[in-house]
Amino acid sequence: MLIPHPLLGLRDSQEFTYLGDASLMQRPDASLDNAEAAFCDYVFLRDNPAGVHRELWFHEQGDRSWLVVTRDTTTHEILGAELASDVKGAAK
Protein backbone atom coordinates (compact mmCIF):
# COMPACT_ATOMS: atom_id res chain seq x y z
CA MET A 1 0.00 0.00 0.00
CA LEU A 2 1.29 3.45 -0.91
CA ILE A 3 0.51 6.65 1.00
CA PRO A 4 0.43 9.88 -1.08
CA HIS A 5 2.61 12.01 1.19
CA PRO A 6 1.85 15.71 0.50
CA LEU A 7 5.56 16.62 0.39
CA LEU A 8 7.32 13.42 -0.65
CA GLY A 9 4.89 11.74 -3.05
CA LEU A 10 3.94 8.06 -2.94
CA ARG A 11 5.61 6.26 -0.03
CA ASP A 12 5.51 2.69 1.26
CA SER A 13 2.97 2.36 4.09
CA GLN A 14 5.59 0.39 6.07
CA GLU A 15 7.40 3.69 6.65
CA PHE A 16 4.39 4.89 8.67
CA THR A 17 2.90 4.11 12.05
CA TYR A 18 -0.80 4.50 12.71
CA LEU A 19 -2.24 6.39 15.66
CA GLY A 20 -6.01 6.47 15.15
CA ASP A 21 -8.99 8.75 14.57
CA ALA A 22 -7.98 12.25 13.45
CA SER A 23 -10.53 13.68 15.90
CA LEU A 24 -7.79 13.11 18.52
CA MET A 25 -6.44 16.47 17.31
CA GLN A 26 -9.45 18.17 18.95
CA ARG A 27 -8.35 17.87 22.57
CA PRO A 28 -10.97 19.17 25.05
CA ASP A 29 -10.39 22.38 26.98
CA ALA A 30 -9.11 21.33 30.43
CA SER A 31 -10.24 24.59 32.03
CA LEU A 32 -13.97 24.01 31.45
CA ASP A 33 -16.34 22.69 34.16
CA ASN A 34 -17.23 19.59 32.16
CA ALA A 35 -13.58 18.80 31.44
CA GLU A 36 -13.59 15.42 33.20
CA ALA A 37 -16.56 14.11 31.21
CA ALA A 38 -15.16 15.63 27.98
CA PHE A 39 -11.77 13.96 28.50
CA CYS A 40 -13.49 10.67 29.35
CA ASP A 41 -15.24 10.78 25.97
CA TYR A 42 -12.04 11.97 24.24
CA VAL A 43 -10.01 9.06 25.59
CA PHE A 44 -12.52 6.22 25.36
CA LEU A 45 -15.19 6.96 22.74
CA ARG A 46 -14.54 6.48 19.03
CA ASP A 47 -16.76 6.35 15.99
CA ASN A 48 -16.19 3.15 14.05
CA PRO A 49 -17.48 4.00 10.58
CA ALA A 50 -17.74 1.53 7.71
CA GLY A 51 -16.54 3.80 4.94
CA VAL A 52 -14.60 7.05 4.79
CA HIS A 53 -12.46 7.65 7.87
CA ARG A 54 -9.94 10.38 8.68
CA GLU A 55 -6.99 9.09 10.70
CA LEU A 56 -3.56 10.14 12.00
CA TRP A 57 -0.48 8.49 10.52
CA PHE A 58 3.12 9.24 11.54
CA HIS A 59 5.87 9.10 8.90
CA GLU A 60 8.30 7.49 11.30
CA GLN A 61 10.83 6.15 8.80
CA GLY A 62 10.62 9.33 6.77
CA ASP A 63 10.37 13.02 7.51
CA ARG A 64 8.70 12.44 10.92
CA SER A 65 5.62 14.38 9.89
CA TRP A 66 2.10 13.66 11.12
CA LEU A 67 -0.44 13.18 8.35
CA VAL A 68 -4.22 13.14 8.28
CA VAL A 69 -4.96 10.24 5.92
CA THR A 70 -8.47 9.75 4.53
CA ARG A 71 -9.14 6.04 4.05
CA ASP A 72 -12.15 3.95 3.12
CA THR A 73 -12.31 1.29 5.84
CA THR A 74 -14.34 -1.06 3.64
CA THR A 75 -11.91 -1.08 0.69
CA HIS A 76 -8.67 0.25 2.29
CA GLU A 77 -8.51 2.77 -0.56
CA ILE A 78 -6.48 5.85 0.43
CA LEU A 79 -8.46 8.90 -0.70
CA GLY A 80 -5.99 11.58 0.32
CA ALA A 81 -3.36 12.76 2.79
CA GLU A 82 -2.68 16.17 4.31
CA LEU A 83 -0.05 17.42 6.74
CA ALA A 84 -1.64 17.45 10.21
CA SER A 85 0.10 20.76 10.93
CA ASP A 86 -1.72 22.28 7.93
CA VAL A 87 -5.06 20.83 9.08
CA LYS A 88 -4.48 22.21 12.57
CA GLY A 89 -3.42 25.59 11.18
CA ALA A 90 -6.51 25.83 8.96
CA ALA A 91 -8.80 25.01 11.92
CA LYS A 92 -7.55 27.98 13.97
Partner: protein, 189 residues
Protein backbone atom coordinates in the same frame (compact mmCIF):
# COMPACT_ATOMS: atom_id res chain seq x y z
CA UNK B 1 46.59 7.37 36.27
CA UNK B 2 46.02 9.64 33.29
CA UNK B 3 48.67 7.71 31.34
CA UNK B 4 46.14 4.94 30.76
CA UNK B 5 43.88 7.27 28.78
CA UNK B 6 46.52 7.53 26.08
CA UNK B 7 46.42 3.73 25.65
CA UNK B 8 42.86 3.83 24.28
CA UNK B 9 42.59 3.02 20.59
CA UNK B 10 39.83 4.75 18.66
CA UNK B 11 37.73 2.37 16.54
CA UNK B 12 35.25 3.00 13.75
CA UNK B 13 31.53 2.17 13.86
CA UNK B 14 32.32 -1.28 12.43
CA UNK B 15 34.79 -1.90 15.26
CA UNK B 16 38.11 -1.80 13.42
CA UNK B 17 41.04 0.59 13.73
CA UNK B 18 40.56 1.77 10.14
CA UNK B 19 37.45 2.20 7.97
CA UNK B 20 36.25 -0.83 5.98
CA UNK B 21 36.15 -0.91 2.18
CA UNK B 22 34.98 -3.85 0.11
CA UNK B 23 34.27 -4.31 -3.61
CA UNK B 24 31.57 -6.45 -5.20
CA UNK B 25 31.85 -6.38 -8.99
CA UNK B 26 31.13 -2.83 -10.12
CA UNK B 27 30.20 -1.65 -6.61
CA UNK B 28 32.55 -0.56 -3.87
CA UNK B 29 31.19 0.09 -0.38
CA UNK B 30 33.30 2.25 1.95
CA UNK B 31 32.81 3.19 5.57
CA UNK B 32 33.06 6.99 5.76
CA UNK B 33 34.38 7.25 9.31
CA UNK B 34 35.51 10.86 8.90
CA UNK B 35 32.08 12.37 8.23
CA UNK B 36 30.95 14.91 10.81
CA UNK B 37 27.18 15.32 11.16
CA UNK B 38 24.96 17.83 12.91
CA UNK B 39 21.28 18.56 12.51
CA UNK B 40 19.87 22.04 12.10
CA UNK B 41 16.25 22.98 12.78
CA UNK B 42 14.54 26.33 12.45
CA UNK B 43 12.50 27.65 15.33
CA UNK B 44 9.05 29.06 14.66
CA UNK B 45 9.06 31.98 12.24
CA UNK B 46 12.78 31.78 11.44
CA UNK B 47 14.09 31.94 7.90
CA UNK B 48 16.74 29.51 6.67
CA UNK B 49 20.38 30.52 7.28
CA UNK B 50 23.26 29.68 4.91
CA UNK B 51 25.75 27.82 7.14
CA UNK B 52 29.23 27.60 5.55
CA UNK B 53 27.65 29.31 2.52
CA UNK B 54 25.34 26.33 1.86
CA UNK B 55 21.94 27.25 0.42
CA UNK B 56 19.78 24.82 2.44
CA UNK B 57 17.88 22.54 0.04
CA UNK B 58 14.11 22.17 -0.33
CA UNK B 59 12.03 19.02 0.18
CA UNK B 60 13.84 15.80 -0.72
CA UNK B 61 17.01 17.49 -1.98
CA UNK B 62 20.71 17.60 -1.10
CA UNK B 63 23.38 20.19 -1.85
CA UNK B 64 27.16 20.14 -1.45
CA UNK B 65 29.86 22.76 -1.57
CA UNK B 66 33.50 21.86 -0.95
CA UNK B 67 33.85 19.97 2.32
CA UNK B 68 30.27 20.74 3.41
CA UNK B 69 26.91 19.34 2.36
CA UNK B 70 23.32 19.45 3.54
CA UNK B 71 20.22 17.37 2.95
CA UNK B 72 16.57 17.93 3.82
CA UNK B 73 15.27 15.70 6.64
CA UNK B 74 11.90 17.28 7.46
CA UNK B 75 10.03 20.56 7.33
CA UNK B 76 12.49 23.29 8.39
CA UNK B 77 15.07 20.63 9.29
CA UNK B 78 18.31 19.58 7.66
CA UNK B 79 21.31 17.37 8.31
CA UNK B 80 24.63 19.11 7.68
CA UNK B 81 27.61 16.96 6.63
CA UNK B 82 31.28 17.90 6.96
CA UNK B 83 34.05 15.83 5.40
CA UNK B 84 36.83 14.99 7.84
CA UNK B 85 35.11 16.60 10.84
CA UNK B 86 34.10 13.45 12.76
CA UNK B 87 36.74 14.00 15.42
CA UNK B 88 36.10 17.67 16.14
CA UNK B 89 33.07 19.38 17.69
CA UNK B 90 31.31 19.98 14.38
CA UNK B 91 28.01 20.84 16.09
CA UNK B 92 29.73 23.80 17.77
CA UNK B 93 31.07 24.96 14.40
CA UNK B 94 27.57 24.78 12.93
CA UNK B 95 26.04 26.53 15.94
CA UNK B 96 28.43 29.46 15.45
CA UNK B 97 27.30 29.65 11.79
CA UNK B 98 23.61 29.64 12.77
CA UNK B 99 23.37 30.79 16.41
CA UNK B 100 19.60 31.39 16.28
CA UNK B 101 18.75 27.83 15.13
CA UNK B 102 18.54 24.55 17.02
CA UNK B 103 21.68 22.49 16.39
CA UNK B 104 22.25 18.94 17.61
CA UNK B 105 25.38 16.83 17.28
CA UNK B 106 24.67 13.67 15.21
CA UNK B 107 28.11 12.23 14.35
CA UNK B 108 27.96 9.76 17.24
CA UNK B 109 24.44 8.64 16.34
CA UNK B 110 25.01 7.65 12.74
CA UNK B 111 27.40 5.86 10.44
CA UNK B 112 27.86 6.64 6.76
CA UNK B 113 28.54 4.11 4.01
CA UNK B 114 29.50 5.44 0.59
CA UNK B 115 28.66 3.24 -2.40
CA UNK B 116 30.49 3.92 -5.66
CA UNK B 117 29.91 2.27 -9.02
CA UNK B 118 32.61 1.82 -11.67
CA UNK B 119 29.96 1.23 -14.36
CA UNK B 120 27.71 4.28 -14.13
CA UNK B 121 24.22 4.49 -12.68
CA UNK B 122 22.92 0.99 -13.50
CA UNK B 123 24.58 -0.95 -10.62
CA UNK B 124 23.51 1.73 -8.09
CA UNK B 125 19.92 1.55 -9.34
CA UNK B 126 19.94 -2.26 -9.29
CA UNK B 127 21.12 -2.19 -5.66
CA UNK B 128 18.37 0.31 -4.72
CA UNK B 129 15.73 -1.91 -6.34
CA UNK B 130 16.86 -4.80 -4.15
CA UNK B 131 16.94 -2.84 -0.88
CA UNK B 132 14.47 0.06 -0.73
CA UNK B 133 11.00 0.91 -1.98
CA UNK B 134 12.12 4.16 -3.61
CA UNK B 135 11.99 4.58 -7.40
CA UNK B 136 15.68 4.82 -8.43
CA UNK B 137 14.78 6.59 -11.69
CA UNK B 138 13.12 9.40 -9.71
CA UNK B 139 16.04 9.44 -7.26
CA UNK B 140 18.70 11.14 -9.35
CA UNK B 141 21.77 13.16 -8.32
CA UNK B 142 20.92 15.75 -5.68
CA UNK B 143 18.02 13.76 -4.21
CA UNK B 144 17.97 12.69 -0.55
CA UNK B 145 15.38 10.89 1.54
CA UNK B 146 14.83 8.84 4.64
CA UNK B 147 13.30 5.39 4.31
CA UNK B 148 13.31 1.85 5.70
CA UNK B 149 15.98 -0.69 4.71
CA UNK B 150 15.60 -4.20 6.18
CA UNK B 151 13.66 -2.75 9.14
CA UNK B 152 16.35 -0.15 9.79
CA UNK B 153 15.79 3.53 9.14
CA UNK B 154 18.35 5.09 6.78
CA UNK B 155 19.05 8.32 4.95
CA UNK B 156 19.84 7.88 1.27
CA UNK B 157 21.71 10.57 -0.64
CA UNK B 158 22.33 10.26 -4.37
CA UNK B 159 25.64 12.13 -4.49
CA UNK B 160 26.04 11.48 -8.22
CA UNK B 161 24.76 9.13 -10.92
CA UNK B 162 27.31 6.56 -9.83
CA UNK B 163 27.42 7.32 -6.11
CA UNK B 164 24.95 6.67 -3.29
CA UNK B 165 25.46 7.36 0.42
CA UNK B 166 23.58 5.33 3.02
CA UNK B 167 23.56 6.85 6.51
CA UNK B 168 22.17 4.59 9.21
CA UNK B 169 22.09 4.26 12.97
CA UNK B 170 25.57 3.74 14.35
CA UNK B 171 24.59 0.91 16.72
CA UNK B 172 23.29 -1.01 13.70
CA UNK B 173 26.42 -0.41 11.57
CA UNK B 174 27.24 -4.12 11.35
CA UNK B 175 23.70 -5.10 10.28
CA UNK B 176 23.53 -2.29 7.75
CA UNK B 177 26.90 -3.23 6.24
CA UNK B 178 25.73 -6.85 6.06
CA UNK B 179 22.51 -5.85 4.28
CA UNK B 180 24.38 -3.73 1.72
CA UNK B 181 27.19 -6.24 1.21
CA UNK B 182 24.86 -9.24 0.72
CA UNK B 183 22.72 -7.35 -1.80
CA UNK B 184 25.82 -6.11 -3.67
CA UNK B 185 27.35 -9.60 -3.74
CA UNK B 186 24.14 -11.10 -5.17
CA UNK B 187 24.22 -8.53 -7.98
CA UNK B 188 27.58 -9.97 -9.06
CA UNK B 189 25.94 -13.28 -10.13
Amino acid sequence: MLDHVTDLTPITALGAASPRTESFGALTISENAGLGLASLALRKGQSAPQPFGLPLPCVGKAVSMGAYAAFWTGRDQWMIEATGKAEVDFAAMLKSEAPECSVTEQTDGFTAFEIASSQGAAPIEALMRKLVNIDPKAFGPGQATRTGLEHMTVFLIRRADDRLAVIGMRTLAGSLWHALAVAARRLED
